[in-house]
């Protein structure tokens, strides 16, 4: 029994290779199914823009070869040169670190949590119990890291920095009103971010009012002209500026009086245009919080630097969750071995009893029942000791070798056919002796 991860990521392969190897959501179930057909107890494929990883339970040589073949075929070159392979506890720790965002390109980014969940959903028919639980616990570990540490807090991009800043002024943004100056791609993105936070926006356009109206309608806002926009500085809570104007369009002369009539109500102005749209003097007005693109970048840098400092705490949580999962997995390996042993012995017993019944057709139902009970009792007595020893071995750290030894000694991995046939000629069995009953 084993857990294996085979993959490439942003550290081992450049983006040109990663994008060639990435499997789409639609492809994942069939790829995982193909690999699993070559052997193994379960498979999950995690395919994102920064990593492609196959997680396998009880991987066989054939299933690993199938992965290498498919990956190399897609790359047009041997995939092994860019890949890593981790096994058992290391593989578990790897996935947990991935889910926590500790292995991400942007440390602590939260998107990976959803991608790990999606990978499990897409691979679900082939994941099996071991990987199913592995991914569930990985998601729990990721959730704990995000809620118990500050790894996921703070902005990791300019749009999220904008939202962070606005939240630090207003708290919950739901129900707030915003004005977006500009109707280009960045202005549209800003409006989307605000709409996602429950902010109602008006988009201000100079030339492309039709386009602005269409975008605003789609995002639940409205479009206005610049001439109509200035009075709105007295009403809205957030202003996002992203015009292509070569000079400042928001000046103290234009909005100063309107803003002063706000009576101290805060106004957050996010100027993400280059060159800047807002005259710096506007930031000097009472209760105006003005930020340009450099400030937003500063928020991102401060946040990423802080994230790096909380890594030890996050690693500690990952280690705790790896320990918990490994405990379960160890126990499960032993349970599997015990179950296999009992199944094997039961099959032997049943076939031997059947043989006896065939040789002694004169036995009445009561005697037949006695023989059944006797053989079952004997089997239980013989297996009681080994079963107990195996159970105890799950907690002593030597479970792998003991489970393997049990599998070898009792031939638990051998195919079940021919057990009755072997027993006929096997001097160690009791069929002949029992035949004299």
């Amino acid at each position: 029994m084993s857990i294996t991860v085979v993959g490439i990521n942003h550290r081992t392969a450049p983006v040109e290779l990663r994008e060639r190897l990435a499997w789409t959501d639609a492809e994942v179930p069939s790829v995982v199914g193909d690999v699993l057909r070559e052997g193994g107890g379960g498979a999950v494929l995690l395919s994102t823009c920064n990593r492609v990883e196959f997680y396998l339970a009880d991987a066989t040589g054939a299933s690993l070869r199938a992965i290498w073949d498919r990956a190399s075929q897609r790359l047009g070159a041997p995939a092994e040169a860019h890949a890593y392979v981790k096994q058992d506890r290391e593989a578990v720790r790897h996935l947990f670190r991935v889910a926590a965002g500790l292995d991400s390109l942007v440390l602590g980014e939260s998107q990976i949590q959803g991608q790990v969940r999606r990978a499990l959903e897409l691979s679900r028919p082939h994941s099996g119990t071991v990987l199913d639980r592995l991914f569930q616990v990985a998601l729990r570990a990721g959730g704990r890291v995000r809620s118990e540490t500050t790894l996921g807090t703070g902005a990791a991009s300019v749009p999220s920095a904008s939202v962070d800043l606005a939240r630090k002024i207003f708290g919950n943004l739901n129900g707030r009103r915003a004005l977006v100056l500009g109707s280009g791609e960045i202005a549209e993105l800003a409006m989307q971010c605000l709409a996602a936070e429950g902010v109602t926006s008006a988009m201000v356009a100079h030339r492309h009012l039709d386009h602005a109206a269409e975008v605003a309608r789609r995002l639940g806002g409205r479009a206005v002209t610049f001439e109509d926009a200035w009075p709105l500085f007295g009403e809205v809570d957030i202003v996002v500026c992203s015009t292509a104007a070569p000079h400042a369009v928001v000046t103290r002369d234009k909005v100063g009086d309107v803003i002063e009539r706000r009576a101290g109500r805060p106004l957050c102005i996010l100027d993400i245009a280059v060159p800047r749209d807002v005259e710096p003097k506007v930031g000097g007005l009472e209760a105006v919080f003005l930020y340009d693109i450099d400030d937003l970048q500063g928020v991102v840098e401060a946040s990423l630097s802080t994230r790096g400092q909380v890594v030890p705490g996050a690693e500690q949580i990952v280690a705790e969750e790896v320990g918990a999962y490994w405990e379960w997995y160890r126990g499960r390996r032993m349970v599997d071995a015990i179950r296999a042993l009992r199944d094997r012995m039961e099959r032997v017993r049943a076939s031997e009893v059947e043989e006896i019944m065939r040789r002694m057709p004169h036995l009445d139902p009561t005697d037949r029942e006695r023989i059944e009970r006797l053989t079952r009792a004997l089997m239980n007595k013989f297996l009681h000791g080994p079963t107990e020893k195996l159970r105890h071995a799950a907690g002593n750290g030597r479970e792998t070798e003991i489970a393997e030894a049990a599998r070898y000694l009792f031939a638990l991995d051998a195919p079940p056919e021919g057990e009755a046939g072997h027993s006929d000629g096997d001097p160690g069995t009791t069929s002949d002796e029992q035949g004299g009953l």
């Binding site: 630090k168 207003f170 708290g171 705490g313």
Partner: protein, 261 residues
């Protein structure tokens, strides 16, 4: 436990802290501290057969308890351990003074007071404690405002609550605190009028009480009518509280009585 709460509240300022654990620890310790504080007040009441509303030390201890209780409420409301950073010194200072002064009530006035006195003292202390909460919110507001205006995206930016949340807390503390203090003072005035001399009022008692009422009233009315808000309201709250507290300490030092007022 209050010391532990302060230590837990400081932890988020350093990046190694576990957020959830710190929040829980701060809340647990703060609630534990307030519970122990309450048990102490109950023990006092049982020992001396009087409520801890008379004498300098018992009254300061009760005031500190109310501030702690309101601080726990603010912590629950905002979920930010930083609320306790400013609350705890306001709990610790009166407690330390009370412990230094000694809880012995021998010198305290213990004339027959009745229910009116409990209501008067309780409402007045609660009003003052709410003024303290308004001060806490205002102090944090000014810190966050400064960080946002000057674009310092460090620990204050990250761990202090949002400006509007602090402004609302300041608003509610003042707007609720003023009527409560008014009730406290009105009860005293009504009783003084009825009992004709039963109400032992010193110039300090009357002067300081009315001064606090005027300051709190000015701030509360200004806020309720929308004349002041945001940074101005924060400045008014902080300076008003500091003036009231300083005046109390100075006058107490000059008069040197064993009574709270």
């Amino acid at each position: 436990m209050y010391g532990g709460t302060a230590a837990a509240a400081v932890v988020p300022l350093f990046p190694f802290g576990r957020r959830l654990t710190v929040r829980r620890a701060t809340l647990f310790l703060a609630v534990g501290g307030a519970a122990a504080h309450f048990a102490g007040l109950v023990a006092f009441a049982a020992t001396y057969d009087m409520l801890p509303l008379e004498g300098l030390a018992p009254t300061l201890t009760s005031l500190a308890f109310m501030v702690a209780l309101l601080g726990v409420g603010a912590l629950l409301l905002t979920g930010e351990p930083s609320m306790m950073l400013v609350t705890l010194p306001m709990v610790a200072v009166p407690l330390v003074i009370a412990l230094v002064a000694g809880l012995d009530v021998g010198a305290a006035v213990t004339s027959e007071r009745g229910a009116w006195f409990v209501l008067h003292a309780g409402a007045s202390l609660l009003g003052l404690a709410l003024l303290g909460v308004a001060f806490v919110a205002a102090a944090l507001y000014l810190g966050q405002h400064r960080a946002l205006k000057q674009r310092h995206f460090g620990v204050v930016f990250r761990f202090f609550p949002p400006l509007e949340q602090l402004d609302r807390l300041n608003f509610h503390a003042l707007v609720v605190g003023f009527p409560v203090l008014t009730v406290g003072i009105a009860l005293a005035a009504a009783f003084a009028d009825r009992s004709r001399g039963g109400f032992d009022v010193t110039a300090f008692h009357l002067g300081w009480g009315l001064f606090a009422w005027l300051v709190l009233g000015g701030a509360a009315v200004g806020r309720a009518l929308g004349w002041i808000r945001g940074r101005l309201a924060a400045y008014v709250s902080v300076s008003g509280f500091l003036v009231i507290a300083t005046l109390f300490v100075v006058l107490r030092a000059v008069i040197g009585s064993a009574r709270f007022l």
